[in-house]
Symmetry: C2
Subunit: 223 residues, 2 copies
DNA sequence: ACCTGAACACCGTTCAAGT
DNA sequence: ACCTGAACACCGTTCAAGT
């Protein structure tokens, strides 16, 4: 018999397997708990084995971020630009809810991966094809992504509660917070949120719509 | 002579001195390099001495973030709400340029400090007094902060270059990037940025204005 | 070729000990 | 009352050694 695996229990490591396991580990444990050593343990391997496949922590993070970019909706479809952008915006928010560790990272990697480049190209293409000038397309891209990533940042903090859950949270928070007495408008917020809750998805779509409709108005009123 | 300082060289530690030194250290070295041990060294003291004054790393970060909130412009002034909000928005961006380590942290601290609460109360108050309904004021607050913090996040990545510097950067980046050939719209971006550069301040104010003017339109057209 | 152990230079934090 | 040293349980990463 020719060359045979001596320890057959574990599948051989590969770059793809390391990256996939890294994303899964970060999804489960969060960014704070994610480490090379834990990832090694998760794969049943010494931490140093990883370095034969991924170069280092920073390079691995680059790859993980590109996995998330790969999950975003491609706006190149032939719909009108507003619904194309709305859908891709919603898909970014949803991807960042699945992968909260990616929130501060999507726009902070200094060497973007292929999925990242392809997505940026597709968004810019969608806007240019819709008739935006170059300057306007840059503005439109900037304001959308600022809103989307900023919203994701805030939502990450406030948690993934449903409207009902956040109403309950606000109610119990209101009890102990005597320190709020100097802040009448914050008391109103707590009281109203305790009544009706806070619907993150609805808030996101309200903001995204305002931005897209304003951009569409500008697009229509230009040469 | 009564009780006298035995080691006079170092001023005595205090909560305030620790917090101020922490902000200064983070400003200089960035979030990545900031640590309790380095802060101790900076203050000429063992790392463990800090724990008599600040409870721990997380509590210290809470206090540092509240220092930044204390630097924001108070929108309670009696101007019209649009310029009040515009000014406070600009002041948030500027504060986050002075303190880039605070970018992911402003909206992610789970127990807000007094400056944080006072600022939120003032913003909400400004919007309510301007005639926004409670629901609309929440929308208006959410979309503004999403945009502002998201913009700061992106700007932090791209660096604090002047328009001229970023033009130069885009030019040299364009040379080596043969991989961009599949992405025609990205090539356009690189080419245009190499010509005109990218003015972060102008981009920020364009986006903020679009949001504020859209909100003002909604406010005027309501009961 | 692929993986490992020991080591290095770091973390935050606890706790008993010093003054 | 305030600070320290040694220790614990972690990091990312290098490098010589194993198979």
């Amino acid at each position: 018999m020719a060359k045979e695996r001596t320890s057959p229990a574990r599948k051989a490591l590969s770059r793809e397997r390391v990256i996939a396991a890294a994303v899964a580990l970060a999804d489960q444990t969060g960014y704070r708990e994610f480490s090379m050593r834990r990832l090694g343990a998760e794969l049943g391997v010494s931490p140093m084995a990883l370095y034969k496949h991924v170069g280092g922590r920073e390079e691995l993070l680059d790859e993980m971020v590109d996995v998330v970019f790969g999950e975003l909706e491609d706006p190149s479809a032939r719909e009108d630009w507003v619904t194309a952008m709305r859908r891709r915006g919603v898909s970014v928010r949803e991807a960042l809810r699945r992968h909260p560790w990616a929130v501060g990272l999507m726009e902070s990697r200094s060497n973007p991966g292929p999925e990242n480049l392809a997505h940026h190209n597709a968004v810019m293409g969608c806007l240019r094809e819709a008739g935006f000038s170059f300057e306007m397309a840059v503005h439109a891209y900037s304001i959308q992504d600022s809103f989307i990533y900023g919203f994701a940042l805030q939502e990450k903090t406030m948690g993934h509660e449903s409207p009902e859950e956040s109403a309950q949270a606000a109610k119990t928070r209101g009890k102990g917070s005597d320190g709020y007495n100097e802040y009448p408008y914050l008391i109103e917020v707590e009281a109203e949120l305790a009544r009706s809750g806070y619907d993150h998805a609805a808030e996101f779509e309200w903001g995204l719509s305002l931005i897209l409709e304003s951009l569409e108005r500008l697009r229509k009123n230009s040469p």
